[in-house]
């Protein structure tokens, strides 16, 4: 039976919804950012609470408590920010999610130089790294890592159909946090997600994240 086009279009689109999993991912993306923001704002909001107390001439013991609390907070915040590789788990989770999803490649190319030339939309060049010794290029697609445009590169399939996924993205410390740089004597790190190992390191200003076939 015919209804108005407007009403049918409305019904059609209203029936489309994000899955629970997608909603959870979008919520966690927002929460992660919210927590980072709160950590930056915290010292300022504490100061605004301290001001009225001092105006009312609190007893010296209360001031001493406030002072101790401030020192404790300072060390707690510093301890938190000193946590090594704070974004490594988030990077590994996103890499594994896309590794398992196997979306179609934008370019099928086994030659590194030609593959590099194919990614015309990126504002960085793909790089080889000493830690990529045995990686055989199979192709790539545009993707993102923590919302930064990235190249998702897939290895050629092995004899048993196994493959590896390599991410390369312009490394920004403000987004990806501190990560190991082998050229400065640090070892790459490995994080596991959904049973897949992801090796992460920074080389030549590029963040590399590569899954390991098990």
């Amino acid at each position: 039976m015919s209804k108005s086009l407007k009403s049918e279009l409305k019904d059609h689109y209203q029936s489309a919804k994000l899955s629970e999993k997608q909603l959870a991912r979008l919520s966690s993306l927002q929460k992660l950012n919210h927590q980072d923001k709160m950590a930056e704002v915290e010292p300022i909001t504490k100061l605004s609470h301290v001001m009225p107390f001092s105006k009312r001439m609190l007893p010296s013991w209360a001031l001493a408590c406030c002072f101790l609390l401030a020192i404790l907070s300072f060390y707690l915040i510093q301890w938190r920010t000193e946590e090594p590789w704070p974004k490594a788990d988030a990077i590994a989770a996103e890499v594994v999610y896309n590794h398992l999803k196997q979306r179609p490649l934008d370019f099928v190319e086994s030659d590194f130089r030609k593959l590099n030339q194919s990614f015309v939309q990126l504002d960085f060049n793909l790089q080889n790294s000493a830690l990529l010794d045995n990686f055989i290029y199979g192709g790539g697609r545009y993707c993102s890592l923590l919302s930064i445009p990235a190249a998702q590169i897939r290895s050629a399939k092995g004899s048993q159909g196994e493959y590896e996924t390599l991410y390369q993205v312009d490394y920004r410390e403000s987004i990806f946090g501190d990560l190991p740089k082998p050229l400065e004597g640090e070892s790459s790190i490995v994080r596991y997600h959904k049973g897949v190992a992801v090796e992460i390191w920074v080389d030549k200003g590029i963040l590399f994240a590569k899954t390991h076939s098990i």
Partner: protein
């Protein structure tokens, strides 16, 4: 914090552009990621901003395979009082809606979505699409004819009445 209802609203808009559930999700994810990057814009209602962000990202993606093209239409001969509401008299059987959308391009789906689901006026659609109102009216005029040329869409005013408001 963008609530579930608004996340779904952004997803539907992205779906109207891409007609692909995975790409629609990627567009929403990307737009929110960029929105949260410092310095975060201070907005009372971030949804229009996020819709623009989704749209720009979609155009960037499609530009490289030129599936999304800005076409320039000639406004000549179009009555000045033509309006997006000229689409109101069209009707369709529910079972054909997916087939119809499959026959339309990204921009046609986007215009229909903004009109039918978001309830936008002609000026609001022209503003979001960043195009002169006259160009949009030409597009609506041609879109209406295109819809009627399919076997799925009927016009309630075919036997009298006016398309112009």
């Amino acid at each position: 914090m963008i609530e579930e209802q608004d996340l779904n609203r952004l997803y539907r808009y992205a779906l109207s552009l891409s007609a692909d559930a995975d790409l629609a999700y990627d567009l929403v994810h990307g737009a929110i990621g960029r929105f949260l990057e410092p310095p975060m814009p201070e907005l009372e209602d971030p949804i229009p901003y996020l819709m623009r962000s989704i749209r720009n990202a979609f155009i960037d993606i499609k530009r490289r395979d030129t599936r999304y093209q800005h076409e320039v239409y000639d406004d000549e001969g179009l009555p000045q009082d033509y309006d997006i509401r000229a689409l109101e008299s069209l009707s369709i059987d529910q079972k054909f809606i997916t087939q119809l959308l499959n026959q339309l391009n990204s921009q046609e789906r986007e215009i229909l979505y903004l009109w039918a689901v978001e309830g936008y006026s002609t000026s609001e659609v022209a503003d979001l699409l960043n195009m002169p109102k006259g160009t949009l009216l030409s597009k609506i005029y041609r879109l209406r004819n295109r819809l009627l040329s399919t076997a799925f869409v009927k016009d309630a005013l075919r036997n009298g009445g006016s398309y112009y408001v």
